[in-house]
Symmetry: D2
Subunit: 156 residues, 4 copies
Protein backbone atom coordinates (compact mmCIF):
# COMPACT_ATOMS: atom_id res chain seq x y z
CA UNK A 1 0.00 0.00 0.00
CA UNK A 2 1.45 3.34 -1.02
CA UNK A 3 0.78 6.30 1.21
CA UNK A 4 -0.05 8.66 -1.63
CA UNK A 5 -3.61 9.15 -2.78
CA UNK A 6 -4.06 6.34 -5.27
CA UNK A 7 -5.77 7.68 -8.33
CA UNK A 8 -4.51 6.60 -11.69
CA UNK A 9 -2.24 9.57 -12.47
CA UNK A 10 -3.67 11.71 -15.22
CA UNK A 11 -1.44 13.41 -17.77
CA UNK A 12 -2.93 16.23 -19.77
CA UNK A 13 -2.38 18.14 -22.99
CA UNK A 14 -3.09 21.88 -22.98
CA UNK A 15 -6.22 23.07 -24.78
CA UNK A 16 -4.23 25.40 -27.05
CA UNK A 17 -0.61 26.53 -27.44
CA UNK A 18 -1.06 29.83 -25.58
CA UNK A 19 -2.90 28.29 -22.62
CA UNK A 20 -0.66 30.00 -20.05
CA UNK A 21 -1.43 33.46 -21.39
CA UNK A 22 -5.14 32.65 -21.68
CA UNK A 23 -5.25 31.64 -18.01
CA UNK A 24 -3.35 34.77 -16.96
CA UNK A 25 -5.58 37.03 -19.10
CA UNK A 26 -8.81 35.57 -17.75
CA UNK A 27 -7.50 35.70 -14.16
CA UNK A 28 -6.68 39.38 -14.68
CA UNK A 29 -10.35 39.96 -15.56
CA UNK A 30 -11.51 38.43 -12.24
CA UNK A 31 -11.90 41.72 -10.39
CA UNK A 32 -12.49 39.85 -7.15
CA UNK A 33 -9.09 38.12 -7.30
CA UNK A 34 -7.47 41.55 -7.67
CA UNK A 35 -9.54 42.87 -4.77
CA UNK A 36 -8.30 39.98 -2.59
CA UNK A 37 -4.67 40.57 -3.63
CA UNK A 38 -4.33 37.12 -5.26
CA UNK A 39 -1.88 36.35 -8.08
CA UNK A 40 -1.05 33.50 -10.45
CA UNK A 41 2.04 31.60 -9.25
CA UNK A 42 2.27 28.79 -11.80
CA UNK A 43 0.35 27.31 -14.74
CA UNK A 44 0.79 23.84 -16.29
CA UNK A 45 -1.68 21.68 -18.24
CA UNK A 46 -4.40 20.75 -15.76
CA UNK A 47 -2.59 22.41 -12.85
CA UNK A 48 -2.74 26.00 -11.59
CA UNK A 49 -1.22 27.47 -8.42
CA UNK A 50 -2.43 30.78 -6.99
CA UNK A 51 -0.99 32.82 -4.09
CA UNK A 52 -2.60 35.19 -1.62
CA UNK A 53 -0.76 37.14 1.08
CA UNK A 54 -2.61 37.40 4.41
CA UNK A 55 -4.58 40.59 4.97
CA UNK A 56 -6.53 41.53 8.10
CA UNK A 57 -9.59 42.61 6.11
CA UNK A 58 -10.08 39.06 4.79
CA UNK A 59 -10.77 37.47 8.18
CA UNK A 60 -13.68 36.00 10.10
CA UNK A 61 -14.59 36.70 13.73
CA UNK A 62 -11.47 35.01 15.19
CA UNK A 63 -8.90 36.60 12.89
CA UNK A 64 -8.48 33.57 10.61
CA UNK A 65 -8.90 33.87 6.84
CA UNK A 66 -12.65 33.66 6.11
CA UNK A 67 -13.78 30.34 4.60
CA UNK A 68 -15.19 32.36 1.71
CA UNK A 69 -11.67 33.57 0.91
CA UNK A 70 -10.10 30.10 0.90
CA UNK A 71 -13.11 28.92 -1.14
CA UNK A 72 -12.70 31.77 -3.65
CA UNK A 73 -8.99 31.06 -4.04
CA UNK A 74 -9.50 27.29 -4.37
CA UNK A 75 -12.39 27.77 -6.81
CA UNK A 76 -10.29 30.04 -9.06
CA UNK A 77 -7.31 27.63 -8.91
CA UNK A 78 -9.60 24.72 -9.75
CA UNK A 79 -11.41 26.61 -12.50
CA UNK A 80 -8.21 27.74 -14.21
CA UNK A 81 -6.68 24.26 -13.93
CA UNK A 82 -9.72 23.08 -15.92
CA UNK A 83 -9.56 26.07 -18.28
CA UNK A 84 -5.93 25.28 -19.21
CA UNK A 85 -7.24 22.16 -20.97
CA UNK A 86 -10.03 23.86 -22.92
CA UNK A 87 -9.99 24.96 -26.58
CA UNK A 88 -9.75 28.64 -27.56
CA UNK A 89 -13.47 29.25 -28.21
CA UNK A 90 -14.57 28.03 -24.76
CA UNK A 91 -15.02 29.39 -21.28
CA UNK A 92 -15.10 27.67 -17.90
CA UNK A 93 -18.07 27.67 -15.50
CA UNK A 94 -18.12 26.51 -11.87
CA UNK A 95 -20.98 24.03 -11.49
CA UNK A 96 -20.36 23.30 -7.82
CA UNK A 97 -17.65 22.81 -5.23
CA UNK A 98 -17.26 21.19 -1.85
CA UNK A 99 -14.90 22.80 0.62
CA UNK A 100 -13.53 21.23 3.81
CA UNK A 101 -11.87 23.50 6.36
CA UNK A 102 -9.09 21.45 7.98
CA UNK A 103 -7.31 23.91 10.26
CA UNK A 104 -7.62 27.57 11.23
CA UNK A 105 -6.36 29.53 8.22
CA UNK A 106 -3.49 31.39 9.88
CA UNK A 107 -0.21 32.20 8.13
CA UNK A 108 1.50 34.91 6.15
CA UNK A 109 0.92 33.49 2.66
CA UNK A 110 -1.65 31.06 1.23
CA UNK A 111 -1.20 28.92 -1.86
CA UNK A 112 -4.08 27.23 -3.68
CA UNK A 113 -3.18 24.23 -5.85
CA UNK A 114 -5.79 23.22 -8.44
CA UNK A 115 -5.28 19.79 -10.06
CA UNK A 116 -7.57 18.26 -12.69
CA UNK A 117 -8.41 14.64 -11.93
CA UNK A 118 -10.75 13.90 -14.81
CA UNK A 119 -11.33 15.93 -17.96
CA UNK A 120 -14.40 14.90 -19.92
CA UNK A 121 -15.64 16.65 -23.03
CA UNK A 122 -17.81 18.97 -20.96
CA UNK A 123 -17.40 18.08 -17.29
CA UNK A 124 -14.03 18.50 -15.58
CA UNK A 125 -13.47 17.28 -12.01
CA UNK A 126 -10.78 19.11 -10.05
CA UNK A 127 -9.30 18.86 -6.58
CA UNK A 128 -7.70 21.83 -4.89
CA UNK A 129 -5.82 22.29 -1.64
CA UNK A 130 -5.07 25.51 0.21
CA UNK A 131 -1.71 25.46 2.00
CA UNK A 132 -0.61 28.09 4.53
CA UNK A 133 3.04 29.14 4.74
CA UNK A 134 3.76 29.77 8.40
CA UNK A 135 6.31 32.17 9.85
CA UNK A 136 8.60 29.30 10.93
CA UNK A 137 8.98 28.17 7.29
CA UNK A 138 6.69 25.19 7.74
CA UNK A 139 3.53 24.57 5.73
CA UNK A 140 0.07 23.38 6.68
CA UNK A 141 -2.86 22.31 4.51
CA UNK A 142 -5.77 24.40 5.77
CA UNK A 143 -8.53 23.53 3.27
CA UNK A 144 -9.50 21.09 0.52
CA UNK A 145 -11.89 21.40 -2.39
CA UNK A 146 -13.51 18.88 -4.74
CA UNK A 147 -15.08 20.79 -7.63
CA UNK A 148 -17.03 20.24 -10.85
CA UNK A 149 -16.28 22.59 -13.75
CA UNK A 150 -18.01 22.80 -17.10
CA UNK A 151 -16.71 23.76 -20.52
CA UNK A 152 -19.08 26.18 -22.24
CA UNK A 153 -18.89 27.85 -25.63
CA UNK A 154 -17.75 31.43 -25.31
CA UNK A 155 -20.36 33.98 -26.35
CA UNK A 156 -19.68 36.45 -29.15
CA UNK B 1 -47.39 14.97 -3.08
CA UNK B 2 -46.63 18.46 -1.86
CA UNK B 3 -44.40 20.60 -4.02
CA UNK B 4 -42.37 21.98 -1.14
CA UNK B 5 -39.19 20.31 0.00
CA UNK B 6 -40.46 17.70 2.42
CA UNK B 7 -38.31 17.68 5.50
CA UNK B 8 -40.00 17.38 8.86
CA UNK B 9 -40.18 21.07 9.77
CA UNK B 10 -37.81 21.93 12.58
CA UNK B 11 -38.68 24.53 15.20
CA UNK B 12 -35.86 25.91 17.29
CA UNK B 13 -35.24 27.68 20.58
CA UNK B 14 -32.51 30.31 20.70
CA UNK B 15 -29.28 29.42 22.51
CA UNK B 16 -29.58 32.40 24.87
CA UNK B 17 -31.92 35.38 25.35
CA UNK B 18 -29.62 37.88 23.61
CA UNK B 19 -28.97 35.69 20.58
CA UNK B 20 -29.80 38.46 18.10
CA UNK B 21 -27.20 40.79 19.56
CA UNK B 22 -24.61 37.98 19.76
CA UNK B 23 -25.08 37.24 16.06
CA UNK B 24 -24.81 40.92 15.15
CA UNK B 25 -21.71 41.40 17.34
CA UNK B 26 -19.90 38.41 15.89
CA UNK B 27 -20.87 39.39 12.34
CA UNK B 28 -19.42 42.86 12.99
CA UNK B 29 -16.09 41.20 13.86
CA UNK B 30 -15.98 39.41 10.47
CA UNK B 31 -13.76 41.94 8.74
CA UNK B 32 -14.31 40.17 5.42
CA UNK B 33 -18.09 40.71 5.55
CA UNK B 34 -17.45 44.42 6.07
CA UNK B 35 -14.96 44.43 3.19
CA UNK B 36 -17.60 42.85 0.92
CA UNK B 37 -20.25 45.37 2.02
CA UNK B 38 -22.54 42.70 3.53
CA UNK B 39 -25.01 43.38 6.33
CA UNK B 40 -27.37 41.45 8.62
CA UNK B 41 -30.97 41.70 7.38
CA UNK B 42 -32.81 39.45 9.83
CA UNK B 43 -32.12 37.04 12.71
CA UNK B 44 -34.48 34.40 14.13
CA UNK B 45 -33.75 31.14 15.99
CA UNK B 46 -32.02 28.91 13.43
CA UNK B 47 -32.51 31.40 10.60
CA UNK B 48 -30.32 34.31 9.47
CA UNK B 49 -30.66 36.49 6.37
CA UNK B 50 -27.76 38.55 5.04
CA UNK B 51 -27.71 41.14 2.25
CA UNK B 52 -25.01 42.24 -0.16
CA UNK B 53 -25.35 44.99 -2.77
CA UNK B 54 -23.65 44.25 -6.10
CA UNK B 55 -20.21 45.75 -6.56
CA UNK B 56 -18.04 45.52 -9.69
CA UNK B 57 -14.93 44.57 -7.70
CA UNK B 58 -16.60 41.35 -6.50
CA UNK B 59 -16.91 39.77 -9.95
CA UNK B 60 -15.35 36.98 -11.96
CA UNK B 61 -14.16 37.15 -15.58
CA UNK B 62 -17.67 37.61 -17.05
CA UNK B 63 -18.88 40.30 -14.68
CA UNK B 64 -21.00 37.99 -12.50
CA UNK B 65 -20.53 37.86 -8.73
CA UNK B 66 -17.59 35.50 -8.05
CA UNK B 67 -18.59 32.08 -6.68
CA UNK B 68 -16.30 32.82 -3.73
CA UNK B 69 -18.50 35.80 -2.85
CA UNK B 70 -21.78 33.87 -2.94
CA UNK B 71 -20.03 31.10 -0.99
CA UNK B 72 -18.76 33.56 1.63
CA UNK B 73 -22.20 35.11 2.04
CA UNK B 74 -23.96 31.73 2.22
CA UNK B 75 -21.33 30.37 4.65
CA UNK B 76 -21.78 33.33 6.99
CA UNK B 77 -25.59 33.10 6.79
CA UNK B 78 -25.40 29.37 7.51
CA UNK B 79 -22.87 29.78 10.31
CA UNK B 80 -24.86 32.47 12.09
CA UNK B 81 -28.11 30.52 11.70
CA UNK B 82 -26.32 27.74 13.60
CA UNK B 83 -24.76 30.18 16.08
CA UNK B 84 -28.19 31.60 17.03
CA UNK B 85 -28.94 28.23 18.66
CA UNK B 86 -25.70 27.95 20.64
CA UNK B 87 -25.13 28.72 24.34
CA UNK B 88 -23.20 31.84 25.45
CA UNK B 89 -19.83 30.16 26.07
CA UNK B 90 -19.60 28.67 22.57
CA UNK B 91 -18.41 29.64 19.12
CA UNK B 92 -19.31 28.31 15.68
CA UNK B 93 -16.85 26.71 13.26
CA UNK B 94 -17.45 25.86 9.58
CA UNK B 95 -16.52 22.20 9.08
CA UNK B 96 -17.40 22.09 5.39
CA UNK B 97 -19.87 23.36 2.83
CA UNK B 98 -21.09 22.38 -0.61
CA UNK B 99 -22.06 25.13 -2.98
CA UNK B 100 -24.05 24.76 -6.22
CA UNK B 101 -24.08 27.66 -8.67
CA UNK B 102 -27.50 27.65 -10.34
CA UNK B 103 -27.51 30.75 -12.51
CA UNK B 104 -25.13 33.59 -13.34
CA UNK B 105 -25.07 35.81 -10.25
CA UNK B 106 -26.33 39.02 -11.79
CA UNK B 107 -28.56 41.53 -10.00
CA UNK B 108 -28.43 44.66 -7.88
CA UNK B 109 -28.82 43.03 -4.45
CA UNK B 110 -28.13 39.52 -3.15
CA UNK B 111 -29.77 37.90 -0.13
CA UNK B 112 -28.41 34.80 1.59
CA UNK B 113 -30.90 32.81 3.67
CA UNK B 114 -29.37 30.39 6.18
CA UNK B 115 -31.78 27.82 7.69
CA UNK B 116 -30.82 25.15 10.24
CA UNK B 117 -32.22 21.74 9.34
CA UNK B 118 -30.75 19.68 12.17
CA UNK B 119 -29.15 20.90 15.38
CA UNK B 120 -27.23 18.22 17.26
CA UNK B 121 -25.25 18.83 20.41
CA UNK B 122 -22.13 19.55 18.41
CA UNK B 123 -22.93 19.19 14.71
CA UNK B 124 -25.43 21.53 13.05
CA UNK B 125 -26.55 20.98 9.45
CA UNK B 126 -27.68 24.10 7.59
CA UNK B 127 -29.00 24.87 4.13
CA UNK B 128 -28.57 28.28 2.55
CA UNK B 129 -29.80 29.86 -0.64
CA UNK B 130 -28.55 32.99 -2.37
CA UNK B 131 -31.29 34.94 -4.12
CA UNK B 132 -30.65 37.81 -6.53
CA UNK B 133 -33.02 40.77 -6.67
CA UNK B 134 -33.21 41.83 -10.30
CA UNK B 135 -33.88 45.31 -11.64
CA UNK B 136 -37.40 44.33 -12.82
CA UNK B 137 -38.41 43.51 -9.21
CA UNK B 138 -38.26 39.76 -9.78
CA UNK B 139 -36.05 37.36 -7.82
CA UNK B 140 -33.89 34.44 -8.86
CA UNK B 141 -32.15 31.80 -6.76
CA UNK B 142 -28.55 31.87 -7.97
CA UNK B 143 -26.82 29.50 -5.54
CA UNK B 144 -27.47 26.83 -2.90
CA UNK B 145 -25.37 25.60 0.00
CA UNK B 146 -25.52 22.53 2.24
CA UNK B 147 -23.17 23.09 5.18
CA UNK B 148 -21.93 21.41 8.35
CA UNK B 149 -21.23 23.65 11.33
CA UNK B 150 -19.72 22.69 14.69
CA UNK B 151 -20.27 24.11 18.15
CA UNK B 152 -16.95 24.66 19.93
CA UNK B 153 -16.17 26.00 23.38
CA UNK B 154 -15.03 29.60 23.22
CA UNK B 155 -11.42 30.10 24.31
CA UNK B 156 -10.52 32.43 27.17
CA UNK C 1 -39.03 36.01 7.81
CA UNK C 2 -40.73 32.80 6.81
CA UNK C 3 -39.56 29.58 8.43
CA UNK C 4 -39.57 27.56 5.23
CA UNK C 5 -36.48 27.30 3.08
CA UNK C 6 -36.70 30.40 0.91
CA UNK C 7 -35.94 29.49 -2.64
CA UNK C 8 -38.03 30.99 -5.38
CA UNK C 9 -40.47 28.10 -5.88
CA UNK C 10 -39.92 26.36 -9.18
CA UNK C 11 -42.80 24.95 -11.22
CA UNK C 12 -41.95 22.43 -13.91
CA UNK C 13 -43.40 20.93 -17.09
CA UNK C 14 -42.76 17.24 -17.73
CA UNK C 15 -40.26 16.34 -20.47
CA UNK C 16 -42.84 14.27 -22.35
CA UNK C 17 -46.46 13.12 -21.90
CA UNK C 18 -45.56 9.64 -20.65
CA UNK C 19 -42.96 10.84 -18.15
CA UNK C 20 -44.44 8.77 -15.29
CA UNK C 21 -44.13 5.53 -17.23
CA UNK C 22 -40.63 6.43 -18.42
CA UNK C 23 -39.50 6.98 -14.81
CA UNK C 24 -41.08 3.70 -13.69
CA UNK C 25 -39.57 1.77 -16.62
CA UNK C 26 -36.06 3.10 -16.03
CA UNK C 27 -36.35 2.50 -12.27
CA UNK C 28 -37.35 -1.10 -13.00
CA UNK C 29 -34.07 -1.51 -14.93
CA UNK C 30 -32.02 -0.38 -11.88
CA UNK C 31 -31.21 -3.88 -10.64
CA UNK C 32 -29.70 -2.41 -7.47
CA UNK C 33 -32.99 -0.74 -6.46
CA UNK C 34 -34.71 -4.12 -6.81
CA UNK C 35 -31.95 -5.76 -4.77
CA UNK C 36 -32.48 -3.18 -1.99
CA UNK C 37 -36.24 -3.69 -2.05
CA UNK C 38 -36.99 -0.08 -3.09
CA UNK C 39 -40.10 0.98 -5.01
CA UNK C 40 -41.50 4.10 -6.69
CA UNK C 41 -44.11 5.78 -4.46
CA UNK C 42 -44.98 8.88 -6.48
CA UNK C 43 -43.92 10.76 -9.61
CA UNK C 44 -44.71 14.36 -10.54
CA UNK C 45 -42.85 16.82 -12.82
CA UNK C 46 -39.53 17.47 -11.08
CA UNK C 47 -40.49 15.42 -8.01
CA UNK C 48 -40.07 11.71 -7.30
CA UNK C 49 -40.69 9.82 -4.04
CA UNK C 50 -39.17 6.38 -3.41
CA UNK C 51 -39.79 3.98 -0.54
CA UNK C 52 -37.61 1.36 1.10
CA UNK C 53 -38.67 -0.97 3.93
CA UNK C 54 -35.99 -1.60 6.57
CA UNK C 55 -33.99 -4.81 6.16
CA UNK C 56 -31.27 -6.11 8.50
CA UNK C 57 -28.89 -6.85 5.62
CA UNK C 58 -28.74 -3.16 4.67
CA UNK C 59 -27.12 -1.99 7.91
CA UNK C 60 -23.75 -0.72 9.13
CA UNK C 61 -21.89 -1.86 12.27
CA UNK C 62 -24.47 -0.43 14.71
CA UNK C 63 -27.60 -1.77 13.03
CA UNK C 64 -28.59 1.53 11.35
CA UNK C 65 -29.22 1.71 7.61
CA UNK C 66 -25.81 2.07 5.92
CA UNK C 67 -25.07 5.57 4.58
CA UNK C 68 -24.55 3.96 1.17
CA UNK C 69 -28.18 2.80 1.23
CA UNK C 70 -29.62 6.21 2.08
CA UNK C 71 -27.28 7.70 -0.53
CA UNK C 72 -28.40 5.18 -3.17
CA UNK C 73 -32.07 5.87 -2.43
CA UNK C 74 -31.61 9.65 -2.42
CA UNK C 75 -29.50 9.53 -5.60
CA UNK C 76 -32.17 7.54 -7.45
CA UNK C 77 -34.96 9.84 -6.19
CA UNK C 78 -32.94 12.88 -7.26
CA UNK C 79 -31.98 11.37 -10.62
CA UNK C 80 -35.55 10.42 -11.51
CA UNK C 81 -36.87 13.81 -10.38
CA UNK C 82 -34.48 15.28 -12.96
CA UNK C 83 -35.34 12.61 -15.55
CA UNK C 84 -39.06 13.44 -15.35
CA UNK C 85 -38.24 16.78 -17.00
CA UNK C 86 -36.13 15.39 -19.83
CA UNK C 87 -37.17 14.77 -23.46
CA UNK C 88 -37.72 11.20 -24.78
CA UNK C 89 -34.33 10.76 -26.49
CA UNK C 90 -32.33 11.55 -23.35
CA UNK C 91 -30.95 9.78 -20.31
CA UNK C 92 -29.91 11.08 -16.89
CA UNK C 93 -26.42 10.83 -15.41
CA UNK C 94 -25.36 11.54 -11.83
CA UNK C 95 -22.47 14.00 -11.93
CA UNK C 96 -22.03 14.24 -8.17
CA UNK C 97 -23.94 14.36 -4.91
CA UNK C 98 -23.36 15.52 -1.36
CA UNK C 99 -24.97 13.58 1.43
CA UNK C 100 -25.39 14.71 5.04
CA UNK C 101 -26.33 12.11 7.65
CA UNK C 102 -28.52 13.89 10.21
CA UNK C 103 -29.63 11.13 12.58
CA UNK C 104 -29.12 7.37 12.94
CA UNK C 105 -31.20 5.79 10.17
CA UNK C 106 -33.53 3.69 12.30
CA UNK C 107 -37.17 3.01 11.44
CA UNK C 108 -39.41 0.55 9.65
CA UNK C 109 -39.79 2.43 6.34
CA UNK C 110 -37.68 5.06 4.61
CA UNK C 111 -38.92 7.57 2.05
CA UNK C 112 -36.62 9.53 -0.27
CA UNK C 113 -38.04 12.75 -1.71
CA UNK C 114 -36.22 14.14 -4.76
CA UNK C 115 -37.09 17.72 -5.77
CA UNK C 116 -35.58 19.62 -8.69
CA UNK C 117 -34.50 23.13 -7.75
CA UNK C 118 -33.04 24.27 -11.04
CA UNK C 119 -33.36 22.67 -14.45
CA UNK C 120 -30.92 23.99 -17.03
CA UNK C 121 -30.62 22.66 -20.56
CA UNK C 122 -28.01 20.13 -19.48
CA UNK C 123 -27.38 20.55 -15.75
CA UNK C 124 -30.17 19.87 -13.24
CA UNK C 125 -29.70 20.62 -9.53
CA UNK C 126 -31.79 18.52 -7.16
CA UNK C 127 -32.26 18.28 -3.41
CA UNK C 128 -33.39 15.11 -1.73
CA UNK C 129 -34.30 14.20 1.83
CA UNK C 130 -34.58 10.76 3.39
CA UNK C 131 -37.31 10.52 6.02
CA UNK C 132 -37.72 7.57 8.40
CA UNK C 133 -41.19 6.43 9.48
CA UNK C 134 -40.88 5.33 13.09
CA UNK C 135 -42.97 2.71 14.87
CA UNK C 136 -44.81 5.37 16.90
CA UNK C 137 -46.18 6.95 13.69
CA UNK C 138 -43.80 9.89 13.86
CA UNK C 139 -41.31 10.82 11.14
CA UNK C 140 -37.71 11.94 11.25
CA UNK C 141 -35.48 13.35 8.51
CA UNK C 142 -32.34 11.19 8.64
CA UNK C 143 -30.38 12.40 5.61
CA UNK C 144 -30.16 15.19 3.04
CA UNK C 145 -28.66 15.31 -0.43
CA UNK C 146 -27.71 18.12 -2.80
CA UNK C 147 -27.03 16.61 -6.23
CA UNK C 148 -26.03 17.60 -9.76
CA UNK C 149 -27.58 15.63 -12.61
CA UNK C 150 -26.84 15.88 -16.33
CA UNK C 151 -29.04 15.32 -19.36
CA UNK C 152 -27.26 13.17 -21.95
CA UNK C 153 -28.38 11.93 -25.34
CA UNK C 154 -29.44 8.32 -25.18
CA UNK C 155 -27.24 5.98 -27.22
CA UNK C 156 -28.68 3.88 -30.01
CA UNK D 1 5.40 22.29 -10.00
CA UNK D 2 4.95 18.65 -9.15
CA UNK D 3 2.13 16.78 -10.86
CA UNK D 4 0.95 15.03 -7.71
CA UNK D 5 -1.74 16.53 -5.52
CA UNK D 6 0.21 18.85 -3.25
CA UNK D 7 -1.02 18.45 0.27
CA UNK D 8 1.51 18.35 3.05
CA UNK D 9 1.84 14.57 3.39
CA UNK D 10 0.36 13.32 6.63
CA UNK D 11 1.88 10.44 8.56
CA UNK D 12 -0.28 8.78 11.18
CA UNK D 13 0.01 6.59 14.27
CA UNK D 14 -2.64 3.92 14.79
CA UNK D 15 -5.24 4.51 17.52
CA UNK D 16 -4.33 1.28 19.31
CA UNK D 17 -2.00 -1.72 18.77
CA UNK D 18 -4.73 -4.02 17.42
CA UNK D 19 -6.15 -1.45 14.98
CA UNK D 20 -6.10 -3.88 12.03
CA UNK D 21 -8.23 -6.43 13.85
CA UNK D 22 -10.60 -3.74 15.11
CA UNK D 23 -11.18 -2.50 11.55
CA UNK D 24 -11.75 -6.04 10.29
CA UNK D 25 -14.13 -6.88 13.16
CA UNK D 26 -16.23 -3.75 12.67
CA UNK D 27 -16.29 -4.26 8.89
CA UNK D 28 -17.55 -7.82 9.46
CA UNK D 29 -20.49 -6.33 11.41
CA UNK D 30 -21.49 -4.12 8.44
CA UNK D 31 -24.16 -6.45 7.08
CA UNK D 32 -24.51 -4.27 3.98
CA UNK D 33 -20.85 -4.76 3.00
CA UNK D 34 -21.38 -8.53 3.22
CA UNK D 35 -24.57 -8.21 1.14
CA UNK D 36 -22.62 -6.30 -1.54
CA UNK D 37 -19.83 -8.90 -1.54
CA UNK D 38 -17.16 -6.40 -0.39
CA UNK D 39 -14.02 -7.39 1.54
CA UNK D 40 -11.10 -5.70 3.30
CA UNK D 41 -7.99 -5.73 1.10
CA UNK D 42 -5.51 -3.77 3.22
CA UNK D 43 -5.34 -1.74 6.44
CA UNK D 44 -2.63 0.72 7.47
CA UNK D 45 -2.77 3.71 9.87
CA UNK D 46 -5.09 6.22 8.18
CA UNK D 47 -5.44 4.10 5.04
CA UNK D 48 -7.92 1.33 4.20
CA UNK D 49 -8.46 -0.45 0.87
CA UNK D 50 -11.66 -2.37 0.14
CA UNK D 51 -12.51 -4.61 -2.84
CA UNK D 52 -15.78 -5.43 -4.54
CA UNK D 53 -16.22 -7.84 -7.46
CA UNK D 54 -18.75 -6.72 -10.08
CA UNK D 55 -22.22 -8.21 -9.77
CA UNK D 56 -25.17 -7.63 -12.12
CA UNK D 57 -27.59 -6.98 -9.24
CA UNK D 58 -25.59 -3.90 -8.17
CA UNK D 59 -26.22 -1.90 -11.34
CA UNK D 60 -28.23 1.12 -12.49
CA UNK D 61 -30.37 1.36 -15.64
CA UNK D 62 -27.41 1.15 -18.05
CA UNK D 63 -25.63 -1.80 -16.46
CA UNK D 64 -22.96 0.25 -14.66
CA UNK D 65 -22.37 -0.10 -10.92
CA UNK D 66 -24.98 2.12 -9.19
CA UNK D 67 -23.59 5.34 -7.72
CA UNK D 68 -24.98 4.19 -4.37
CA UNK D 69 -22.67 1.17 -4.51
CA UNK D 70 -19.52 3.17 -5.24
CA UNK D 71 -20.62 5.63 -2.56
CA UNK D 72 -21.18 2.83 -0.03
CA UNK D 73 -17.77 1.32 -0.77
CA UNK D 74 -15.97 4.68 -0.65
CA UNK D 75 -17.81 5.67 2.56
CA UNK D 76 -16.78 2.44 4.29
CA UNK D 77 -13.17 2.77 3.09
CA UNK D 78 -13.09 6.38 4.29
CA UNK D 79 -14.76 5.56 7.60
CA UNK D 80 -12.40 2.71 8.42
CA UNK D 81 -9.36 4.77 7.39
CA UNK D 82 -10.50 7.25 10.06
CA UNK D 83 -11.36 4.49 12.54
CA UNK D 84 -7.83 3.02 12.32
CA UNK D 85 -6.60 6.17 14.10
CA UNK D 86 -9.16 6.14 16.91
CA UNK D 87 -8.70 4.90 20.49
CA UNK D 88 -10.32 1.62 21.68
CA UNK D 89 -13.35 3.13 23.40
CA UNK D 90 -14.51 5.05 20.34
CA UNK D 91 -16.63 4.51 17.25
CA UNK D 92 -16.70 6.29 13.89
CA UNK D 93 -19.69 8.14 12.47
CA UNK D 94 -20.12 9.46 8.90
CA UNK D 95 -21.09 13.13 9.13
CA UNK D 96 -21.26 13.71 5.39
CA UNK D 97 -19.59 12.86 2.12
CA UNK D 98 -19.36 14.26 -1.39
CA UNK D 99 -19.11 11.84 -4.25
CA UNK D 100 -18.08 12.66 -7.83
CA UNK D 101 -18.78 10.10 -10.56
CA UNK D 102 -15.93 10.38 -13.07
CA UNK D 103 -16.58 7.56 -15.54
CA UNK D 104 -19.14 4.80 -16.04
CA UNK D 105 -18.38 2.20 -13.36
CA UNK D 106 -17.65 -0.78 -15.59
CA UNK D 107 -15.06 -3.45 -14.80
CA UNK D 108 -14.65 -6.81 -13.12
CA UNK D 109 -13.31 -5.61 -9.76
CA UNK D 110 -13.56 -2.31 -7.91
CA UNK D 111 -11.13 -1.06 -5.27
CA UNK D 112 -11.90 1.78 -2.86
CA UNK D 113 -8.93 3.54 -1.31
CA UNK D 114 -9.65 5.62 1.81
CA UNK D 115 -6.89 8.02 2.91
CA UNK D 116 -7.06 10.32 5.93
CA UNK D 117 -5.93 13.85 5.13
CA UNK D 118 -6.50 15.50 8.48
CA UNK D 119 -7.19 13.86 11.83
CA UNK D 120 -8.45 16.26 14.49
CA UNK D 121 -9.49 15.21 17.97
CA UNK D 122 -13.08 14.69 16.82
CA UNK D 123 -13.32 15.53 13.12
CA UNK D 124 -11.41 13.46 10.57
CA UNK D 125 -11.31 14.48 6.88
CA UNK D 126 -10.79 11.66 4.42
CA UNK D 127 -10.49 11.32 0.67
CA UNK D 128 -11.38 8.14 -1.15
CA UNK D 129 -11.11 7.00 -4.74
CA UNK D 130 -12.84 4.09 -6.45
CA UNK D 131 -10.71 2.43 -9.11
CA UNK D 132 -12.04 -0.15 -11.61
CA UNK D 133 -9.83 -3.02 -12.76
CA UNK D 134 -10.67 -3.62 -16.39
CA UNK D 135 -10.45 -6.89 -18.29
CA UNK D 136 -7.38 -5.72 -20.24
CA UNK D 137 -5.38 -5.32 -16.98
CA UNK D 138 -5.65 -1.54 -17.02
CA UNK D 139 -7.19 0.57 -14.26
CA UNK D 140 -9.50 3.56 -14.28
CA UNK D 141 -10.56 5.88 -11.47
CA UNK D 142 -14.36 5.91 -11.65
CA UNK D 143 -15.31 7.93 -8.56
CA UNK D 144 -13.92 10.24 -5.87
CA UNK D 145 -15.12 11.06 -2.38
CA UNK D 146 -14.32 13.82 0.10
CA UNK D 147 -15.78 12.86 3.48
CA UNK D 148 -16.07 14.11 7.05
CA UNK D 149 -15.96 11.51 9.81
CA UNK D 150 -16.46 12.00 13.55
CA UNK D 151 -15.00 10.17 16.52
CA UNK D 152 -17.71 9.33 19.04
CA UNK D 153 -17.53 7.55 22.38
CA UNK D 154 -18.73 3.99 22.08
CA UNK D 155 -21.87 3.25 24.06
CA UNK D 156 -21.91 0.57 26.75
Amino acid sequence: MTDRFPTTTPSFSPGCPDYVQRVRDSFARQAFMTALGARVADVAPGAVDLELPFRADLTQQNGFLHAGVTAALADSAAGYAAYSLMPPDSDVLSIEFKHNLLSPAVGSLFRAHGRVLRAGRQIVVVQASVVAALDDDTEKTVALMQATMMQVRRDG
